[in-house]
Structures are given as structure tokens and as C-alpha cells.
């Protein structure tokens, strides 16, 4: 079957506006989801190659899914709305610690008023989603300066968020339930009576989160709100003159982005790390997310997945390939090489293809569509 959209005449605008107007794309996506939801878990259950141990699930797929989720969130703010963020790590942290507090019960003694605010421990799903909401709230707060300041200045505002919350979670013992080491343990992952424990269960949980979020995010960015965000990104003055309110457009972008990043943070802490320290959400994490978005493609949901995969796989390859070739590299060399590769790739893509790998893929598809008569 050839990759064609001719002969598939679209009779209504609704059809033309579907996520994947081309049938072959829809089939490919269906197959991919089938493999992800059914194929992989089956292979893993029966320990069929490449699932000999849990390595693939634990070390690659699980972080891949969660980081892809965070990258979608970052992409909404940076790629779609054009508001630079160097603070995504902080919003992951806010999601993680808020969810943690909510799941373990909140107690705020207001001694001078003579009473205390107490919230009993909430179910895990509610905690994670409310953790996302908390991140969204703080996101809106730090988004407010974006109404007065443009682009670069915002980088500093988001850095402020990063460093301030690094400090808060390190120094305010209330957030870690006064754990002496500052490191906290995730509560039991009990979803309506189903306890998520094994790597496969964890994988499926994250996969569900990512799939649902990706679809909802895709709906947003191809609807009116998405167009508002992109209009602000491309030319904010003209956007305002055609009736887009910068206040609404920017703050919704901050809210939606921070919500997704916050949920990703909660998953990262609860499902992937299990126990964690504030260091897990440092500036390095923020820059990683920014890189995923640039490499995968600014303004592309699919690109967020590509970018996350790339950032995860490069260090593994740097470790694996030289070892296979008999010249293993030291961890230090790998770190440095990794920096150099990411850095140069960022520059290269910004110069050659600012829409990242996602754009390269769609150019490839374009060529395929015309094949074998490329005119």
C-alpha cells in the first residue's frame, strides 16, 4: 500500500481536521499504540528478548515516557507559546512535593489563630492531579511577569523559580515531612484498589498518562487556544491587534504547561524514582527538557517524544558502543562527550532546522508521498 493522500478525498472539514488526516498515518499510530499497550507488556511478562531482565523497562521506557510527558508540557510553553523556560525542573519538583504532601496528609498549624488546617491523606490519583494543579498555580504566578517582559527577560524570571524552589524543598523541612536526610519515599501507588508495583505495571500506568495527555494536548494546540499561543509566539503585537488577549493566552500556556510538567514530576518521583531528593529536579533537569524540545521540535507534540528518546539514548549509546568496540570510556568522558554532542546538535538544529527532528520526519514523509515521482 502506497503512502498517499490523494484518492482519500475529504468530504467534510471535520475529516480534514482530524489529528491524522492520512489513513496510513492512522494505521501506523494504531499499530504503535497496540505494540505499546499490548505487545511490550506481553514480551516483558514472558521475558522474551529484549526483555531478558527489567533493564529496558526500568532504565529506558519508564524514564522515556515520563520525560516525554514533561517535554510535552515544556513544549507547550516554549515551542507553542514562545515563552522561554529554564524552570521546568522546578515545576516538576512542585508537582512531586505537592503530590507527596497531599498523599501523606497536610497539616498546617496556625498557632496564632488557634487552629490548624488539616487535610487527610488523599488517594494517589487525586494527589498526582492536584500536584499538577499546584504546579499550574505557581506557573501562573511566575507567568505574570511575562505580561510585562519579553522573551529573554523571562529566562531570568524562570531561573528565579528554579533556584527559589530548589532552595525551598531543600531548606523547608515541612515539605519533606521533616525527614532527617531530606530524602523522601513515595507512598504506596494504590489506584482504586489496584497497587502498582512491578515494572510492567508502572510502565502501563505512565503510558496511560502520556497517551491521554498527548491526545488532549494535541487537541488544544490545534484548536483556537493553540492558535492563540502560536500567534503570541510569532508576533505578539499583531496577535493583540486581532483580538487575542496576551494575558489569557500566556497565562493559559503557563497553566497548562506547568500542570503537565507538574504531573510528570509527580510520576517521576512516585513511579520512577521511588525515593528522591531535591537534586532530582535541578537546573540540569530544566535544561534537559529544553533540549528535548529543541531537538525533537519546537511546537510539535510528536517531537517531544523524539527529543526525550534522543536525550535518553545518547548517553546509553556512548556507554555501549565504545565498550562493544573494546575501548570503554570513563563516565567522565561520557558526560563531557554528551555535553558536546547535545550542545553542537542544538546549534546545528537551530541553524538548519529549528523545528527539529519532527520536522525532518515530516519532510521525509513528504518525500515518501511524492515517491517515486518527485515533482
Amino acid at each position: 500500500m502506497l503512502y498517499r493522500e490523494t484518492s482519500q478525498f475529504k468530504t467534510t472539514y471535520a475529516e480534514d481536521m482530524a489529528i491524522f488526516p492520512i489513513r496510513q498515518d492512522r494505521i501506523a499510530l494504531g499499530v504503535l499504540l497496540g505494540i505499546a499497550f499490548i505487545g511490550l507488556p506481553l514480551l516483558a511478562t514472558f521475558h522474551i528478548w529484549p526483555f531478558g531482565g527489567d533493564y529496558l523497562l526500568w532504565a529506558i521506557l519508564l524514564p522515556f515516557l515520563i520525560l516525554a510527558l514533561a517535554a510535552i508540557g515544556t513544549n507547550i510553553l516554549v515551542g507553542y507559546c514562545g515563552q522561554i523556560s529554564l524552570g521546568s525542573g522546578a515545576f516538576m519538583a512542585i508537582g512531586a512535593y505537592s503530590a507527596y504532601k497531599l498523599a501523606t496528609g497536610v497539616h498546617i498549624p496556625l498557632a496564632w489563630l488557634g487552629f490548624a488546617i488539616s487535610i487527610p491523606p488523599l488517594p494517589i490519583l487525586a494527589s498526582i492531579l492536584l500536584g499538577g494543579l499546584a504546579a499550574a498555580g505557581v506557573g501562573i504566578l511566575f507567568g505574570i511577569p511575562s505580561l510585562r517582559i519579553k522573551g529573554l527577560y523571562l529566562a531570568v524570571a524562570t531561573l528565579a523559580a528554579q533556584f527559589f524552589f530548589d532552595w525551598v524543598f531543600l531548606r523547608v523541612p515541612w515539605f519533606t515531612n521533616y525527614a532527617p536526610s531530606g530524602s523522601v519515599n513515595a507512598p504506596e501507588l494504590n489506584f482504586f484498589g489496584v497497587v502498582v508495583q512491578t515494572p510492567i505495571e508502572r510502565y502501563l500506568l505512565c503510558l496511560t498518562f502520556v497517551t491521554v495527555t498527548a491526545i488532549l494536548a494535541k487537541n488544544l494546540v490545534r484548536g483556537n487556544l493553540g492558535r492563540q499561543w502560536m500567534a503570541i509566539r510569532d508576533m505578539d503585537i499583531a496577535a493583540e491587534l486581532i483580538g487575542i488577549r496576551p494575558l489569557y493566552a500566556k497565562l493559559t500556556a503557563f497553566a497548562v504547561s506547568s500542570f503537565i510538567v507538574g504531573v510528570a514530576g509527580a510520576l517521576w518521583a512516585f513511579v520512577y524514582l521511588g525515593s528522591w531528593e531535591p537534586l532530582a529536579f535541578s537546573l540540569d533537569r530544566s535544561l534537559d527538557l529544553l533540549f528535548m524540545v529543541i531537538i525533537g521540535g519546537l511546537g510539535s507534540i510528536m517531537g517531544s517524544f523524539v527529543g526525550a528518546a534522543f536525550i535518553l539514548i545518547v548517553p546509553i549509546m556512548l556507554n555501549l558502543i565504545p565498550t562493544e568496540l573494546g575501548v570503554p570510556l570513563s563516565t567522565e568522558t561520557i558526560t563531557h562527550l554528551q555535553l558536546i554532542i547535545f550542545g553542537s546538535l542544538i546549534c546545528y538544529l537551530l541553524i538548519k532546522e529549528p523545528r527539529g527532528f519532527a520536522r525532518l520526519i515530516s519532510i521525509g514523509k513528504e518525500k515518501l508521498r511524492l515517491w517515486p515521482f518527485p515533482y
Binding site: 467534510t12 472539514y13 471535520a14 481536521m17 488532549l216 487537541n219 488544544l220 484548536g223 483556537n224 487556544l225 492558535r227 492563540q228 502560536m230 500567534a231 509566539r233 510569532d234 508576533m235 503585537i237 499583531a238 496577535a239 493583540e240 491587534l241 486581532i242 483580538g243 487575542i244 488577549r245 496576551p246 493559559t252 497548562v256 511546537g299
Partner: protein, 261 residues
């Protein structure tokens, strides 16, 4: 050329002055725009024409004077309020959303008409989808009208200049404005493109009854299209009247010949 049916004033500019540091871009400018007319604003480079439009739609706030639009007077308003009030605009240097397709650019012009909020749009189901399709229908009408069907999915950055200007007009039309401000819609176009654009402007004015304020350097076009012409020079209004009156005005002739002040 059909004259507007009424003498009802849609927009009144009263004693507007605007300065940038030492540059006095506008000095005590007054004029009005009547409902349904095509009103040209002309003048040599740097006369203050663009600044005038910027004042009208709230992008600049005048130092003195006031604007009355649809009977409401205000000295300053935000661009967003102007848009909501029904003022649309195209720009001297095309100000399209570069990363978006022609279709999305024009769809963005529908923003003020969108009723469903974030959560509905996120679900994109039922009423939200119906609304989206409804807007798409409206936009497709505009696309047909401007004869740009073939390029609707093309990112605007890849379009030639003439087509970009057309898409920009489409985006303004999508707002279904009462007053359409066009800043040199034909600059840099060849003759054929200019004729197309003139036709669109006249059609918009005739079919939708949209009031249009037009800045243009090509005198032939101005004389053809407009009902009334205001002439600015160095921020001062030096003439105002029908195209014929303005053409014969000595001050205008001097301004264009560059007679020293």
C-alpha cells in the same frame, strides 16, 4: 464608484497629537470616517499615516486628543479593546504569524468569536468540535473569496509577498470588522496583483458594507478606490476632501513636490 448610503460618522478623530521624543509624528489631527465609506489617508514618507492608524486601534496612546468610535469617546484604549470593538487591521510590513499555515492565520482571526473555553477545546468533542467546524466554514468562505484555496495549508513564511498580503487581509476579514484599517495593502505589488487587491477591497466594501481606512502611495489606486481622502504631511493634516478636490489642492501638490516648509 458607489457613495456610502449614510452620513453617519463611525469614527471621529479629534485633535490628536503624538510625539516620540523630539519627533512630532502627529500634530492636532482631526478627521472623521463615515460609515460604509472607503477613506484614504495619504502623505509623503514619514507623514504620520501609520502612526495615525496605530492611534486609532490603541497601539499608541495619543498625547492629546480623543477618538470617538461608534459613539464612544476615549483618549486611550488597549489594542485588544479596539479589536473587540470591531476594528481590524493589516500592516505595512506584513505581520503574519510566520510559523503557522495560511489557514491557521485566518482561523486565528476568529478568536474573538470563539465561545468554548479551554476544557471544551481540550476534549474537542460535541459542541466544541461543532464550533470549530463552524468557524472553519466561515474561514473557507474568505479563502474562496480571496482565491487562495491552493495555499491554505502552506506555512505563510514560504508564500510570496503578494500572497502574504492577501492572507493578512483574510485574517482581518475573519474578524468580521466594522472598520478595516489597511496600511499600504498594495506596496511592493505588481500591476496585476494591485488590480486583484483593489477588486477585493471594493468587494469587501460593497458586499459586507465594511468601512475601510486605506493608506496607499499609489495615487491612481487612491483616486479610483476612495470616497474621501485626508492628506497628512509632517504630522499635520493639510487637506481633506474628495479625490478630485485633493488632487487640485496646492498644499498637497507642494507637499508631494517637497517644497520647503
Amino acid at each position: 464608484m458607489r457613495a456610502p448610503d449614510t452620513n453617519e460618522v463611525l469614527l471621529q478623530v479629534e485633535g490628536v497629537a503624538l510625539a516620540f521624543g523630539g519627533v512630532r509624528a502627529l500634530r492636532d489631527v482631526s478627521f472623521n470616517i463615515r460609515k460604509g465609506e472607503i477613506r484614504a489617508i495619504i502623505g509623503p514618507n514619514g507623514a504620520g499615516k501609520t502612526s495615525m492608524l496605530n492611534v486609532i486601534n490603541g497601539f499608541y496612546h495619543p498625547d492629546h486628543g480623543a477618538i470617538t468610535f461608534k459613539g464612544r469617546t476615549r483618549a486611550r484604549m488597549q489594542p485588544f479593546e479596539a479589536a473587540r470593538g470591531g476594528i481590524a487591521r493589516t500592516f505595512q510590513n506584513v505581520a503574519l504569524f510566520k510559523g503557522m499555515s495560511a489557514l491557521d492565520n485566518i482561523m486565528a482571526g476568529r478568536t474573538l468569536k470563539v465561545r468554548r473555553g479551554l476544557l471544551w477545546q481540550m476534549l474537542r468533542y460535541g459542541p466544541a468540535l461543532a464550533e470549530e467546524v463552524e468557524h472553519r466554514h466561515r474561514v473557507e468562505e474568505i479563502i474562496d473569496f480571496l482565491e487562495i484555496e491552493a495555499i491554505r495549508k502552506v506555512p505563510v513564511a514560504r508564500l510570496p509577498y503578494g500572497l502574504q498580503k492577501r492572507v493578512e487581509l483574510g485574517r482581518a476579514l475573519a474578524m468580521e470588522p466594522d472598520l478595516l484599517l489597511l496600511d499600504e495593502p498594495m506596496a511592493g505589488m505588481n500591476l496585476e496583483e494591485k488590480e486583484d487587491m483593489s477588486r477585493f477591497i471594493i468587494d469587501v466594501n460593497n458586499h459586507y458594507g465594511t468601512t475601510i481606512a486605506l493608506i496607499e502611495h499609489d495615487m491612481a489606486v487612491v483616486m479610483d478606490l476612495s470616497h474621501r481622502v485626508a492628506v497628512l504631511d509632517h504630522g499635520v493634516k493639510i487637506a481633506d476632501g474628495t479625490p478630485d478636490e485633493v488632487k487640485r489642492n496646492q498644499a498637497v501638490i507642494d507637499a508631494y513636490l517637497g517644497v520647503a516648509h
